[in-house]
Symmetry: C2
Subunit: 337 residues, 2 copies
C-alpha cells in the first residue's frame, strides 16, 4: 500500500479513473504543525520547491544588489520557468550584468518545458541553450553569488564549491536541521538535493513567510524575494502555469512554488504559515489540485481569488474534440477539510 | 490509502523519491487468475489498451480484406502512435483506400505525442491534423468498417452508431460480460470507454492470445491483428516507445499495448495468458516498468530479450547534464515475484 492519503481523484464520466496519494504539512514559524495529512516525518526531496531558500544567500550577501539584479531577475532566481522568450531574455540579462554568457551556466540545455515555446523555437530553426533550462535563473543567481564572493565560478554546482556551501547553510538554517547526514541526490540541473521531512520544509517556509527564526538580513532577503515574485509572477513559471497564476490571483497573500516529482510549497505571510506537500507518485497535476485545496482551506478566499482557486481545485478535463470527459478534484481527505 | 501494491519505485541517489501503486492481473483463457496483485475486481477504464479488441470487427467482418488493408494499416488500427511521418502516411493511405480524407476522422487533431515529431512539424511551418492524432489508425479502421457495412460513416464515434455497436459487442464477447450497466466515459478520441475489472481485461487478452472462447472467424481475426503488429511494430507506437520495442525484441512471444492513465495489457500466445495492469495514479512510466517486470516473470527470457526487458525494468534516470541521478525499478511486490 502507498504511504499518504488520497489527496486527488481523477474522474471520467461518473467514475474515479485514477488517484493520487500524498502528504501535506502546514507549520507555523515555531514549528508547530497546524495541519497534517499522511506521513510528514519521512525524508522527501524538496527539489525545485526550495529555490527561494537557495536564493537567500544571493540577496542576503548583497550580491544581487551589488550587480543590480531587478525584480524580474530575482523572481527568475526562484523559478522553474517554461523557457518562453521572456524567461530566456531575463536570464541572458542577468548573466550580462556579470559579464558572463550562457556558456557559464552548468545546468545543461533542454527544450522549453512549454510545448508552444519549444515548437516556436524549432520553427525559428534553432535549438535550445542552457538559457532555456527551467533552472537558468537560479544558476544565474549562483553565478552572481560567485562573482560577489570573488571565487572561481566554474564548478559552482558541486557540493564543495563555496557557492553551494552558502546555499546548503541557508537551507539548513531555514529547515532547522543539519543536512550532513541527509540522503543526498543530484537534481535535474546538477546541484545537490537533500531529503528533509515535509514538516521541516513547511517550517522553513513559515520562517521564510515571517522572518521569525532568521537574522534581520536573512529576514529582509526573504521579504525581497517574495516581493520580487509578486512583482514578476510570470518569471517564476510562465503562461498558464499554476505558480504564476496563483501569485497573480492571490498577490501578497501567498508565495507559491512547485518542485519536480509532485512537491509543492507555499509561504503565507498573513497567517505566518508554511505549506509543503508531496504527491507520492510525483504527479504535478496532483500537487496543483492539492495545493489549491490547501490554499482555499487556509486563506478563505473571496471573489476572484475564490474563483481562481475553485477552477484549480476542480479542473475540467477536455478531450481532443473539446468534449468535457472528467475532472481533477480533491480526494475525500482534502475535500472534507 | 491508495488501492494496490507498490509496483514501481523511483529512486534518487540511494533514496526512494516516488512510488507508483497499482494492480496486476494475469489470466488464462478459461478465466483463471494465474497471478494477481492489488485489486483486480474493481472496474477500470482500459482506454486505448483494448484497441486490438476494438479492431476485431474490422478484420472479422471482412472489411479490412475487402479494402485491402496492409499489415501496417492493421497495426495502426491497434495503435496509440506518436504522430511521426510514417504513422501519418499510413493513416492517410488507409483513408485513401476508402476514398476518404482526413476530414472524415472524428478523433480531433493534436500535436504529435513525440516531442521531436511535434517540433519537426512546427519547423515545417504547418500544424497538426486529425491524422496526427494518436488514434487516427483506429478511427481509419472504424471508417473502413462503416464503408463495408454500407452505413453513413458520420457519427461513427457515437455509442448508438452501427460501428460502435459492433465494437462494443466485440468487447463484450472478449471480456465475457455485458457492458450495458458498466460505468461509461468518453475517451480522448471521442468514442465510449467502458470500465471493466482488470481480471476480465486479462481474460479478454488470454482469449485474444489463444482464440479460445471465440468463434473461428474472431479467433482468426485476433491472429491476423497480432501478426500485423509483430510485422509492423513501429506502427503500434513509434520511436523509442515501449510497445514498439517490446514487439521488436520479443517478437511473436507477446502482443503488448498501453492505454492512457497507466493501463497496460499483453497477450502471450505461447503461454495462453493475458495480462492487464493499472497504475493507480495513471503514470505511463510506472505501467511500463511494471509490464516489463511481469513479462520477465512470465516469459523467462534469455539473451537479447532478457537484456531488453532488464533495461526496461530498471530504467536509468539521466539529468540535463547527462548525469545518472536515479532509476525506475520494480517495487517489492513485483521484484520478489
Amino acid at each position: 500500500m502507498s504511504a499518504g492519503e488520497i489527496l486527488v481523484e481523477v474522474t471520467r464520466g461518473i467514475a474515479v479513473e485514477s488517484r493520487h496519494a500524498g502528504s501535506v504539512a502546514v507549520s507555523d514559524a515555531a514549528g508547530r504543525l497546524v495541519f497534517a495529512l499522511g506521513d510528514v516525518a519521512r525524508p522527501t526531496f524538496p527539489r525545485s520547491a526550495v529555490k527561494a531558500l537557495q536564493a537567500l544567500p544571493l540577496v542576503e550577501s548583497g550580491a544581487a544588489a551589488r550587480f543590480g539584479f531587478s525584480d524580474e531577475e530575482l523572481a527568475l532566481a526562484c523559478a522553474s520557468h517554461s523557457g518562453e522568450p521572456e524567461h530566456v531574455a531575463t536570464a541572458a540579462g542577468a548573466l550580462a550584468r556579470l559579464g558572463l554568457g550562457a556558456e557559464a551556466l552548468e545546468c545543461g540545455a533542454h527544450w522549453p518545458t512549454s510545448d508552444a515555446a519549444a515548437r516556436a523555437l524549432a520553427a525559428s530553426g534553432v535549438g535550445p541553450t542552457a538559457l532555456h533550462n527551467n533552472c537558468s535563473g537560479k544558476h544565474a543567481g549562483f553565478l552572481c553569488l560567485a562573482c560577489a564572493m570573488e571565487v572561481e565560478p566554474a564548478g559552482y554546482i558541486q557540493p564543495e564549491h563555496p557557492v553551494q556551501r552558502e546555499v546548503t547553510a541557508a537551507l539548513e538554517g531555514a529547515l532547522g536541521m543539519s543536512l550532513a547526514e541527509a540522503a543526498v541526490g543530484v537534481d535535474g540541473c546538477g546541484i545537490p538535493t537533500y531529503a528533509a521531512p515535509l514538516g521541516a520544509v513547511a517550517h522553513a517556509f513559515a520562517r521564510f513567510a515571517t522572518g521569525e527564526g532568521f537574522g534581520p538580513a536573512r529576514a529582509a532577503a526573504a521579504k525581497t524575494l517574495m516581493r520580487a515574485a509578486w512583482s514578476a509572477p510570470f518569471q517564476v513559471a510562465g503562461t498558464g502555469r499554476f505558480d504564476t497564476e496563483a501569485m497573480q490571483a492571490l498577490k501578497d497573500r501567498a508565495f507559491v512554488k512547485m518542485g519536480a516529482e509532485g512537491v509543492h510549497v507555499a509561504a503565507l505571510p498573513e497567517l505566518g504559515f508554511g505549506v509543503a506537500l508531496k504527491i507520492e507518485d510525483g504527479a504535478t497535476r496532483g500537487a496543483e489540485v492539492a495545493m489549491a485545496a490547501v490554499l482555499a482551506r487556509l486563506l478563505r478566499p473571496e471573489g476572484e481569488q475564490a474563483a481562481w482557486l475553485a477552477s484549480r481545485m476542480r479542473r475540467r478535463l477536455i478531450n481532443w474534440e473539446g468534449v468535457e470527459v472528467g475532472e481533477l478534484r480533491p480526494g475525500p481527505a482534502l475535500s472534507a477539510a
